[in-house]
Symmetry: C2
Subunit: 235 residues, 2 copies
């Protein structure tokens, strides 16, 4: 764990800010001056090149050089050789399906374990958890497995909210996550409120954003005003 | 298709009505005087017996005799011998997982094809479609496949709504279903607004509820003021 450099972000936007505006400085701090390999597989309704171009534009102001994995002939080698990696949001099922199709599970894990910085937002944070069983996305395609990168010993729930619209009869997010816990009682879910992010750097755990992290397990829901419990879980 | 007797309901409640209150007369019309085999596999956070008991209580006023599949030693034989079948709501992934674990895909299809009435609501309607790729539920467990009962040549989306909360930045239901269509352009999604239901009876198609059915395919979104297009799709 001491080698891992992770930045797991809830979302690409918060409120009506511009794309990646609220977190580009956090991304810069994680990536530094390294060129960034971007994985646009979660995108639906745009080409991979278009998605990469959008991220390149958003990170130009912090002088991060972005190259899309679609520009390489060999995706696995691109991951192994990368100096920093980012995985963007979109549909988590589509993302994980293409990661399996391109045989990137093992290369991504190996890269992170040797210390290559990994930045994810939304779906890109979901797959950093053990499985994608706590994604908010619709299962529009079928990946070969729900098992994900397992970079942290948690289930990730980006865009976490406990908002309950007046008159709403449906399930809240907490209802859904509690159902996950009912069927998976040994797991812990980390809820990342919009605009927040978890950073791991050489064994140190940092939290970005004003809302606090939320942990949900079989003892209930715990808002983390200090990070000790979360740090202990991650190991 | 001519033998099929299906009642595919959006939801167990509408507004603040009691459980199955708005649709129990429709269910009675489909089931008639037959004893009803109930499949409670979608339930989470209650036992199967508890779920069956809740449905039994809700249908007592229309004189439907309910027996839960958990009361039988052999689930597949219970399905094959049933005079009418109902599958309740809950979590679609858990439902489909237990249907596979109990080897019920083929028996359920065979029962419907020979004319056994099938009633589903929410998750029970989702699995009547080709796959569960248009469920609204969180993927809290992993079924062996997303392929479902394929009782109608459609993808089902119960609890369909095009509501867009003011100030909401997230994906609407239409956004999600359009992403499904982007990746599955030959499919058609049937959106069942809350409080509605599709009934098929010996080749005749009926619609229950005041909101109209919605079809979404690669030509766009079509509210069905008459049922001809829907009838043609179902065959």
């Amino acid at each position: 764990m001491n080698q891992k450099k992770l930045l797991l972000l809830s979302s690409s936007r918060v409120g009506d800010t511009a794309y990646l505006a609220h977190n580009r400085e956090w991304i810069k701090r994680t990536v530094g001056d390294a060129p960034l390999l971007f994985i646009p597989y979660a995108g639906v309704g745009m080409t991979h090149a278009e998605y990469t171009s959008k991220v390149r534009d958003a990170l130009a102001s912090v002088s991060i050089e972005v190259k899309g994995i679609e520009e390489y002939d060999a995706a696995a080698a691109a991951v192994s050789d990368a100096k920093a990696i980012a995985v963007g949001g979109g549909n988590t099922f589509q993302l994980l399906k293409l990661i399996y199709e391109n045989d990137l599970i093992a290369p991504l894990r190996a890269a992170v374990l040797k210390g290559t910085p990994y930045v994810g937002w939304s779906a890109g944070s979901n797959i950093a958890g053990k499985t994608i069983k706590t994604t908010n996305d619709m299962p529009i395609v079928e990946p070969p497995s729900f098992d994900a990168l397992n970079l942290v010993n948690l289930q990730m729930n980006p865009h976490y909210t406990d908002y309950h619209p007046p008159g709403f009869n449906g399930e809240t997010r907490d209802d859904r996550l509690n159902e996950f816990i009912a069927l998976n009682p040994t797991e812990t879910v980390l809820g990342l409120p919009e605009g927040t992010g978890l950073e791991l750097r050489a064994g140190e755990l940092l939290w970005h954003g004003s809302d606090r992290p939320v942990l949900i397990d079989n003892t209930g829901k715990h808002t983390q005003h200090d990070l000790q419990r979360l740090a202990a879980l991650i190991g």
